[in-house]
Symmetry: C2
Subunit: 507 residues, 2 copies
């Protein structure tokens, strides 16, 4: 690399660090083996895409039309799938090699929503028939729940699946414009099959939303199947590499066997049966994605902060704190630049390790649910709702602040920051709107306090509500005692307790 003031400043900064970065990376991702395998996989895919040479500007900064970006997303998604199939790993199930949420490609719903929807809701027979096709990429699926007029409010969904006992088929139909399926990843041009949420109508009875497997496109020529109108929703603030799409169904027929029937069943004679307890399981697909978002968003925030930190180390501007006239100061030397970066980096580590707890709790829930124990559902729901809302807010605001810390250069696309900010700001909305999720974690906490006051048992996660003796007595630590994690934990518990009690008494 050419030697100039900036490269010299960067080398100096790097040489002055005392942290073993590889050791830290292994700590973050759990095992040295995982880190090495991930890096090897990232390298193979970047090489396959011709983007491994980081001294060359990636195509996305010169070929910027909607069509160009979609093509790049398609190439990225296919290269990732090919690599996972060939090398038998799952490193790109959730993220692209650039740590974008996998939504950033037309393969966005394949392994994180379509296949789990099948796994959680399909019968053994259905799973045996469809999962091998989906996993091997012979069909490409999307999870089609949201409609033009209906977002996360599933009960409002209008699409119907009417049982026709004569032909033993369902008729999938979009009765209004507002019932048009809207947003599913890859629906625009790419996906062949959809797990479509529709109201089951049998014998004139509306049995509420259920999931139906619908073939959307011909496997021969990719054209929409008869009766389905489809297209792209258009340019977005981010994720333009994916063809989030719309679909409208005009009396589309599918065999009865394509309703996912683990939790509810429709018999040949039109008899409907439902296990209300098992129905809770279908909700856990939403929890899966919501629970994984904190970990992914935290890493994208870390990317933004890394860019801003590097920039701050090499960018010189003004006379600096020393008011020295002979050279301009590196902007990292300014107190407000330093403080904003450092406090956000600290928060990012905290959120990263917090997201691990989210993952573990979700895995435990699934493990227990497989043994018919659903008792963890309320607390995992509350935890993922709170973590998703908190981390996506902090990540979007933090990345935007990192962008501002780079001044005009952060406004340029080649800084990478506008794309990161654009992707992160979407997180406040999808997989549960944050304001709604805040209300859900709030309701859960207030309910736990109710239970405590009524002498009923509470969730182990909020045991602190019972443990704190007097919320009005301040923490008695002094000086360096504040560095003790136990003291810090006590402070957080006290604070959480005080705030929950305050909110509870204010209502």
């Amino acid at each position: 690399m050419a030697k100039n003031t900036q490269t010299t400043l960067m080398q100096k900064a790097r040489a002055s660090g005392s942290i073993d970065t590889f050791e830290l990376t292994c700590l973050l991702w759990g095992k040295e083996r995982i880190v090495k395998e991930r890096r090897a996989a990232f390298k193979r895919v970047e090489k396959a895409l011709g983007t491994y040479d980081s001294t060359k500007l990636p195509r996305c900064y010169s070929e910027t039309s909607r069509e160009d970006l979609f093509e790049q997303g398609l190439e990225m998604g296919k290269a990732c799938l090919d690599d996972m199939l060939e090398h038998n790993h799952e490193h790109f199930v959730w993220v692209t090699p650039r740590y974008n949420l996998v939504n950033a490609s037309p393969f966005g719903h394949k392994a994180v929503l379509f296949e789990p929807a099948m796994e959680h809701n399909g019968t053994e027979e259905q799973k045996a028939q469809w999962l091998p096709l989906a996993r091997s990429g012979k069909i490409l699926g999307t999870y089609a729940q949201t409609e033009l007029g209906h977002g996360s409010f599933v009960r409002g969904i209008e699409t119907t699946a009417t049982f026709d006992p004569d032909s033993d088929e369902f008729v999938i139909h979009s009765p209004t414009i507002s019932s048009t399926n809207f947003w599913p990843a890859g629906l625009g041009f790419s996906t062949t099959h959809g797990a479509v949420m529709a109201r089951l109508i049998a014998g004139g009875q509306d049995q509420g939303p259920h999931i139906f497997l619908v073939q959307l496109r011909s496997l021969e020529d990719g054209k929409p199947m008869p009766g389905i109108k489809m297209g792209d929703v258009g340019l977005k603030l981010g994720y333009n590499e994916s063809d989030n799409g719309f679909a409208s169904f005009d009396q589309v027929r599918i065999p009865r066997s394509q309703m996912l029937m683990t939790h509810s069943q429709l018999a040949r004679d039109g008899t409907f049966t439902k296990d209300p307890l098992l129905a809770k399981l279908s909700y856990s697909v939403m929890l899966l994605v919501r629970g994984r978002m904190p970990g992914i968003f935290t890493v994208q925030l870390a990317q933004a902060l890394t860019i801003a930190t590097r920039y701050s180390v090499v960018r010189q501007q003004g006379l600096g704190p020393a008011d020295a006239l002979n050279t301009e100061a590196r902007i990292f030397q300014y107190k407000h630049q330093h403080f904003r970066l450092m406090s956000m980096i600290a928060k990012t580590y905290a959120m990263f390790f917090g997201s691990r707890v989210c993952d573990d709790q979700y895995n435990e829930l699934r493990e227990m649910q497989s043994k018919d124990d659903h008792s963890l559902l309320p607390s995992v729901h509350a935890l993922t709702a709170g973590m998703k809302a908190y981390v996506t807010s902090e990540a979007a605001d933090g990345a935007e602040d990192a962008r501002k810390l780079c001044g005009g250069h952060g406004y340029m696309s080649i800084s990478g920051l506008p794309e990161i900010v654009g992707a992160l700001t979407g997180g406040a909305t999808f997989e549960g709107e944050n304001c709604v999720l805040w209300q859900q974690i709030g309701r859960h906490l207030l309910k736990q306090l109710d239970r405590l006051q009524d002498g009923e048992p509470i969730e182990p996660q909020v045991q602190y509500l019972a443990d704190v003796e007097d919320p009005n007595i301040a923490c008695s630590a002094f000086g360096t005692q504040f560095l003790d994690p136990e003291v810090q934990l006590t402070i957080y518990r006290d604070r959480a307790h005080r705030l929950v009690v305050k909110a509870h008494s204010a209502i």
Copy 2:
């Protein structure tokens, strides 16, 4: 228009309003005549561009490559200039017909920086020679101050203008990569002339930054003049209709007469003279743009809030506060949606009228400066710094919140919101980085308190620092008295006084 649930809800909402919107518009823009003339001008330009029919999607949502957007910006800028010349008005000096800052076209610096730089710094002879060419569009100018390595820190600028007494010329030169001129609007492909900031070197002496008029491109074929390397800075978070550019000068010669010489002069024999008092005038060009930004950013925030309000009136989601099962609620009925919209709309009106004070103060400063009275400069500098930082922050955050209030639909480009947010977030950086400006208004206020405590006179704008008798006595109003503007003003004065005193004693 087709009649459906949404159009019906909108008609109902509009019919229920009690405000005369035209009267309100006239109040906002000052006079009925102005409103009518503006609207007529907007209509003519939109018609000329073929975008007047608002039921058709504008080109910017389908033709989205960098080249397409630049072409659209060029057409918009030219249509605006043609209309102003033909109909003799100034409605598009600062904004496009879509209320974007004029930066959004390659004509971005013409009337707001290039011509004012000439007016403020050129001699009568220079103005007579160049202003008619600039104003009529025979040449297209840009204000070229920022360099790749140097933003708002003018003293750090590296470009040199070395006087050659033999030929009576200046040699304009970019000695390093970091001295490359960077960012000026239209510099990429469009502008023919630049008001270039460069260090004046005469007789081996560095006399600091001065402004030089440099021809950048041939008026015949638009090609760069010999010795000048130019291009576009690339894709940005916003303003992609403009070719913000870079330029590097390799020993480019211009006649001595092209240094703007009102405040400093270089004689034929190389003698340098400078009027330190008059030199303050050159700074007022920066104040001009900074002072106008609050008004423009406020209107763009108002656009975002208008979109979000309309959406909230027609979007139905969930069961609503009444938990009524027969119909979904309009999201405007939810308390948090209602509160966020209403409080931001109120703030927007306050900032709009506040920006008027900014304009008036700037005009008064210019009026007094024309009579050699520069006494208003410190207070106008502080006012514009504070207003610019406050309004651009509030506008960017408010528009992003408006975008979130529209859920997934706010993530789509056709909502108009991503473009508004992208443009507004740039405002934290250009024309003075907000963190730097906060420090400047802070320093001004603390200095005024120093003066007060030393028994010296203070600026009339901060008279409240002297007037409040005891900052510890709370406002004694009750109930509806809080609706009295005088009471509200007292509260704001008390609060400002208390905060300034607190900050002063903390340092």
